[in-house]
Symmetry: C2
Subunit: 315 residues, 2 copies
């Protein structure tokens, strides 16, 4: 298992990345509070560079490399926000980035990564092909592999979003973040339980991709088997490292239906006036499905990102 | 002509409304700056209460009334953001609001006003019927008429958005706001030319509703004759008061096509991750049509609002 960061690592990450990342705004809506029967404080990582929290972890990972490592660049496998985040963070640091992507990745995601001048290596759309291709790239380039979430520095970087939220909003009763691979959730949980040991921390998952819920209930890692949810950022399974953090830090994992995700997205667009991706609406969807649990409380929510095809919104 | 506020009136408005309005965030996007060839700073009044800058002026107008006036309440004619703004500002101040609306107003706008507990008086959808109905309401209730833009306190309130923008972002070369009736534009121009006499100030209008452009060019007020633009907040014509301010304070009025409005909206959704109404995208559309004018400069833009049917976006 990877080494797990503690809060001092997250504090160091915060200092390391401060000049490179946006300190994103925290938004609230009176109308949305009335709908949800509680006070909601949204940490808007959809306004982060590349449109997602992933830029925090990627920047922290790259800025933690040695001079020799930096010279050889970084690599990863991802067709989503982590690929863009690592590409931009590498470009800003002046080092090469190599991205392994399935050859059926959407053109818009390929273009986004190319726009940051990363080099793309295509592979067949299978887990095995992806790992083989990544190994080839590593052997050829000597680049450091930055895993999207099973990485000490990535988790530490993602924990800086909750740190900013907790510094700016006092007296929260609970904090909720979406769970995909568990990098954001791990960083959020470590930060929260370190600063406020009695504050409740919840993960939020679509019912249709509830591998983290099932893993925590079973007390062992149960990977997702080709889950189908519109929350395309939450399809991945936990790693041993993030499973360990979630098992030891979370109060519970909440789940929500696809219908609730659409409703939550629509509320965020109509009431908060922000563009979020389906994954980013999952925590609000879980609040709406569990209103009694949060009634009249102060709840912090991390909006993970805003990368969505605005021509194909689900409402 | 109404009395025109000067900057000291805007400073007073700012103090008067501070505890009631949101200090809205100012957002930027590196990608959008690359597209526009300049540095853009967006003052996001789409995040204001009721989703539009109108809440500033309405709050300032109500909070400037005497105790006797307050007891009788306020009234206006509007089916748009001003109706909602006045209704909420009145509710917050604990006074009645009476809104005259055309009977063919969209149900969603009627519901929004009712939600703020204002009393609605319907009228035929003509200018004459609207004014007759408003007079009846005034006679019956004794309420103070708060005009959507031809009002000293409303203009002073709208000027506080530019004040916040100029206090938070230094060294702007120009500032641009949309022009409908001219209330926001007047407040923006008075603030800007008072604080920075050499900073350029531009109005932004759809070509399809360019009554302010034509009025300023002709040196006299030329009202709009049933203009057709998707920017439904900019259909109204200037008043004598706002025409006077714009004539004496603006460097120019820029116009844009409907196609540019759609493109600008899409950029704001995709790159900035914010929901804006068509009127709010008009200043960016004008920048995109006049890139040489702003090349490499620092430009402040006021996003007027975000009240749009997200199920009927034009892209």
């Amino acid at each position: 298992m990877i080494k797990i960061p503690d809060f001092s690592d997250i504090e160091n990450a915060s200092k390391r990345i401060a000049q490179f990342v946006h300190k994103t705004p925290i938004l609230s809506s009176r109308l949305l509070n009335e709908i949800a029967d509680c006070e909601l404080f949204f940490k808007c990582e959809n306004f982060q560079k590349v449109g997602a929290f992933k830029f925090r972890g990627a920047t922290n990972a790259i800025r933690s490399l040695s001079k020799d490592e930096l010279a050889k660049g970084v690599c990863t496998h991802s067709s989503g926000n982590h690929a863009q985040a690592l590409s931009l963070a590498a470009k800003q640091a002046g080092v090469p980035a190599y991205i392994v992507m399935p050859k059926n990745a959407p053109q818009v995601k390929i273009d986004a990564v190319r726009n940051y001048r990363a080099e793309i290596f295509f592979c067949e759309p299978t887990l095995e092909a992806r790992e083989t291709r990544l190994k080839e790239v590593q052997e050829k380039t000597g680049a450091s592999f930055i895993h999207p979430y099973n990485n000490f520095h990535v988790i530490a970087g993602q924990g800086t979003a909750a740190k900013e939220l907790l510094e700016d909003v006092s007296n929260l009763d609970a904090i909720i973040a979406p769970v995909g691979g568990g990098g954001l959730m791990s960083g959020t949980a470590i930060t929260t339980k370190s600063l406020h040991p009695t504050m409740r921390v919840y993960g939020a998952e679509p019912k249709a991709a509830d591998d983290a819920k099932r893993s925590l209930d079973a007390g062992k890692l149960i990977p997702s088997l080709s889950p189908k949810t519109m929350a395309d950022g939450l399809l991945t399974s936990l790693s041993d490292g993030t499973f360990h953090v979630l098992s030891t830090h979370l109060d519970d994992i909440l789940t929500c239906s696809e219908t609730s995700i659409v409703l939550a997205m629509r509320y965020l667009y109509e009431r908060m006036k922000i563009v979020v991706e389906p994954s980013g609406a999952v925590p609000l969807a879980c609040v709406l499905e569990n209103k009694e649990m949060f009634k009249n409380q102060r709840i912090g929510i991390i909006i993970s990102g805003g990368n969505v095809d605005v021509q194909k919104l689900p409402f």
